[in-house]
């Protein structure tokens, strides 16, 4: 039966190829877009794991911590209040800003993650697992020096001792971090806190990063801070992870949903092809029944055909989606790296199979209901 099914789908080569392409496009889109959200998830999980035990305090806002971070403003008084709460081992006020690498650049062009931190708190900001690959850490009084992540130094082809211009001010690079996995650190630069305040013309801070006395008390400390200081929100990395993974899920759901629609259209193509194929083969199906094929046999034969078409489309789509995912990573210069996880690959193949089987059901049922006498009359 399997051989007969394979022979049947090669009978109308052009039509089969077009049907396969219909499925291919849908599955390739699912794989390529799905890989981006999988990549995002992996990246975020990686950087959050390394920052466990930290609390990030920002201005209370309705934008959530993710977006809130870049617009948050904490005054000096608020920061003093926060730092006075019991149970804090170390605290570092910081300034975040997202700037453009090139002057006069706008949305969509390469960005740089600029952070201002007190030099002796750098280890707290980046966590201690970050290692310098070149040069030295910033020290008190290094007003004309900066440290940068490996991605950005690689991209700009800069080394320790070179100069980088930020907001029209020149900084000499003092140290470069090795790959860390956190986009902010890997593709950002770090300058002293007071220099950043001067540079960005502000008296306030973006956030305070806090390391608790007791790691097990991290949630309680976050609650204490929120209760004792008005107008701030204190998030632990666990909450952070939850929020961000929620956002990533939404992005994934949305993009895969759109791609899924095109795959469903591909599935309708399979159904259309199979209906035509059954109509053309009425006589043959009648003969098969006359010589002893049961209705079940006919149904199976048609379903195998449609599932095969769909699976071939799915496998080719997986390959092309994989290439597409790498292509997207290349175009975005590593900012959106796609990862085709086994889960994504398996689900997209199952979806292709599902489309094939569902698309084949109606034509198969129709074929099995053909009366052999009627089918034999048909010329």
């Amino acid at each position: 039966m399997f051989e007969l099914a394979i022979k049947n789908i090669t009978r109308q080569k052009t039509r089969t190829a077009l049907t396969v392409i219909g499925i291919l496009i849908g599955i390739a889109a699912i794989v390529a877009l799905g890989s981006i959200s999988e990549g995002l998830r992996v990246q975020i999980t990686k950087s959050l794991e390394q920052a466990s035990g930290l609390i990030t305090v920002t201005e209370e806002s309705n934008q959530g911590i993710f977006l809130g971070m870049t617009t948050s403003e904490l005054s000096q008084e608020k920061v003093d209040e926060i730092m006075a709460v019991d149970g804090i081992k170390e605290a570092a006020p910081i300034i975040y800003k997202i700037g453009y690498l090139e002057e006069g650049a706008s949305f969509g062009q390469p960005t740089i993650f600029e952070s201002g931190v007190e030099p002796d708190k750098i280890s707290l900001f980046t966590t201690e697992s970050v290692v310098l690959s070149e040069g030295e850490l910033l020290e008190e009084g290094d007003t004309d020096y900066a440290m940068m992540g490996w991605t950005i130094s690689d991209k700009l082809n800069l080394e320790v001792g070179d100069t980088i211009t930020i907001e029209k001010r020149d900084f000499t690079i003092k140290g470069i971090y090795e790959e860390f996995g956190d986009q902010g650190v890997d593709s950002g630069i770090i300058i002293p806190l007071d220099v950043a305040q001067e540079l960005f013309e502000t008296d306030s801070y973006s956030a305070v990063i806090i390391y608790p006395d007791d790691i097990d008390e991290v949630e309680n400390l976050a609650n204490d801070i929120e209760n004792s200081v008005e107008g701030v929100s204190a998030s632990t990395t666990a909450e952070f992870a939850k929020q961000i993974s929620g956002i990533v899920d939404q992005i994934g759901f949305f993009t895969i949903g759109i791609a899924g629609i095109s795959a469903v259209v591909g599935g309708l193509g399979v159904m259309n092809t199979m209906i035509m194929s059954v109509m053309e083969r009425r006589r043959e199906i009648g003969v098969l029944k006359a010589i002893g094929a049961t209705n079940g046999y006919i149904i199976k034969m048609i379903l195998i055909e449609s599932a095969l078409i769909s699976l071939i489309g799915g496998l080719l789509g997986l390959g092309i989606g994989y290439i597409g995912s790498k292509g997207l990573g290349f175009i975005s210069q590593g900012q959106a790296e796609g990862i085709v996880t086994p889960r994504l690959a398996i689900y997209s193949m199952l979806f292709a199979l599902f489309l094939g089987v569902v698309g084949g059901l109606y034509p198969a049922k129709r074929a099995s209901k053909l009366s052999p006498v009627e089918a034999l009359k048909y010329e």
């Binding site: 039966m1 043959e284 029944k289 010589i291 002893g292 049961t294 046999y297 009366s371 006498v373």
Partner: protein, 229 residues
């Protein structure tokens, strides 16, 4: 019921509705007896109900009223799948249009009914080769139907009909698309290929072929006008 009788029809009829009020009586109260081992011909002009009768005997169609017995079993009210199973094991069909599967080789076409019956592929291959040798197609086994002449295709069709060693072979104008000489060859193969006691029912227009038959059933307007005794 007499064991010598393979087909018995009692007041068998088949009516079709054509439009809202017009009823076509393709078969009207037909009574026949076909003995095991007989060679029977069915003759009649087109539209006389020959093919309908053949389809009924071969379990391809169900009667509107009356009864039909196959090998002692009442087959007038069986389900589709029960009919299919009897057809597969006990009936072989040969059609005017040959009706081979064009994608399969001669050998695969002959194997198909055996595969449908669950015969293992080694046995079915050997048996298909043997039957094809018997019908004189030893050298054409790996050819597909479109590469063969009409006479060759009909011989493959006969081999396919023989595959599951049926009780009865039903041939609907088997020589209708062939020239006289090839037609005679085909009829001779049909007569001599079956097991001892197999029954052959042939629909034909050809009076010479009809004469060879032991028994002639003549139909007109869905009624038997001569049941051949």
């Amino acid at each position: 019921m007499n064991n010598d009788v393979i087909i018995q029809a009692k007041d068998l009829c088949k009516y079709y509705r054509e439009g809202k009020y017009n009823e076509v009586r393709a078969l009207d109260k037909v009574n026949i007896n076909i003995k095991r081992g007989d060679l029977v011909s069915i003759i009649g002009s087109s539209g006389s109900g020959k093919s309908t009768l053949l389809h009924m005997i071969g379990l391809l169609d169900k009667p509107t009223c009356g009864k039909i017995f196959f090998d002692g079993q009442d087959i007038s009210k069986l389900s589709d799948n029960e009919m299919t199973k009897i057809r597969r094991k006990k009936v072989g069909f040969v059609f005017q249009q040959f009706n081979l599967i064009p994608l399969l080789t001669a050998l695969e076409n002959v194997e198909l009914p055996m595969n449908l019956d669950g015969v293992d592929s080694e046995t079915s291959r050997k048996r298909a080769e043997n039957i094809l040798k018997k019908v004189g197609l030893k050298k054409r086994m790996e050819n597909r139907p479109p590469e063969m002449s009409g006479g060759e295709q009909q011989r493959v069709a006969i081999a396919r009909a023989m595959a599951n060693n049926p009780e009865i072979i039903l041939a609907d104008e088997p020589t209708g698309n062939l020239d006289t000489k090839t037609g005679e060859e085909v009829i001779n193969i049909l007569r001599n290929i079956g097991k001892k006691d197999f029954t052959l029912v042939v629909i034909t227009h050809d009076p010479d072929i009809a004469k060879i038959a032991k028994k002639q059933i003549k139909l007109k307007d869905g009624k038997i006008i001569n049941d051949g005794g």
